[in-house]
Symmetry: C2
Amino acid sequence: MTTTAARRERQRIQLIDAAEKAIAEKGLPGLKARELAQEIGCALGAIYNLVADMDELVLRVGSRTLARLDAALSAAENEATPVSARQAADRLVAVALAYCAFARDNLQLWRVLFEHRMAEGAVVPDWAVSEQMTLFRHILEPLSVLVPDRAEPERMLMSRTLFSAVHGVVAIGLEEKLIAVPRRDLDRQIEGLVHLVCRGLAVST
Amino acid sequence: MTTTAARRERQRIQLIDAAEKAIAEKGLPGLKARELAQEIGCALGAIYNLVADMDELVLRVGSRTLARLDAALSAAENEATPVSARQAADRLVAVALAYCAFARDNLQLWRVLFEHRMAEGAVVPDWAVSEQMTLFRHILEPLSVLVPDRAEPERMLMSRTLFSAVHGVVAIGLEEKLIAVPRRDLDRQIEGLVHLVCRGLAVST
DNA sequence: GAAAAATCTTGAACATCGTTCACAAAGTTT
DNA sequence: AAACTTTGTGAACGATGTTCAAGATTTTTC
């Protein structure tokens, strides 16, 4: 006999599954409490026994997306730790392209990571914040090879900057509000930007 | 005696004023049709004689924001047309910092430019799309000095990339979902990025 | 094992939205 | 002045997230 807590846990996962699917297919506005309840076969009010509110649900989906994104970036780091500047640059390009590919393949879910805003007054829980930091890790390592002389905090800041820059190119490139950038061009933009930055770093002695 | 059309036009402006104020103070979720109606002293339904729907209203506010942003960037281009690479780089830095300052000072309105999504099925009108293109202009001119040998379409793409990169740094830097970046650090990040790109461009023969 | 207590589930009800629409008011034309 | 057209009005509609009293279920107690 399954205990109540276990069943609830199973239902919570079903709920997040359904929410993830809904967002992936129809975007954040396509996430409806009533549809979710019907999907997982429970009453409307029962959702609030599984999550506090819709915000938490969105954050949980975001957590999953972040984990998959992290895995995708890790997969792009196929080789061993880079030692030469050339290898470091190649890895940065690979990670950036993987980021772009992930965003394209998971457009709606990826957008939620950045576009979702908590309800008035609500605050983002700590675990959600700290999760995001893991992204910079993929940049910090190759960057340490490129600029070994800089202090760690400064390298951390540079990681953040480089990540943000690539993110910006991807975000605006995939924004259909502007004229859509063809896939090939977008990849070339990213490659060009990362190469440019690496070249700039190489000269900076 | 004021004609009906003129009065309506005046009311439309009042409506956009009120909407702009509401968004600036409380963000996009703070934009309520009923509050706007009360603010400008008309019936709820009368709003739909002034604009087609809320989407159009948001778009019109965005148009204003874009115009002010354009003016702010223009103001940052105080000197004459850059001729040397050094001048071009300085101007790019100045424009980027002005972009950051504008975003910070108009946080909610600036966000709407990128985060607002049209209702299901609705399409962004042409005028809204073409307006956005004007932003790249501020980058294209200095960039033409830095890389005069590249073809125009490629320079256009580079402008877009550089703009997007700076935009990304600003967007993530001002995102309170992550740990907030102090103003000074954010400015330094941007300056560093633009300098890095310029240096990379200078070496690229 | 049955009764009692605690817990969970339910779906109707509530508060808010944007949006519509029949009707009244105002303006325009004949 | 009367007929017609346009415009303004706010109640009503359909969605939405969230709550809550009451019924169903599980757990505890003796």
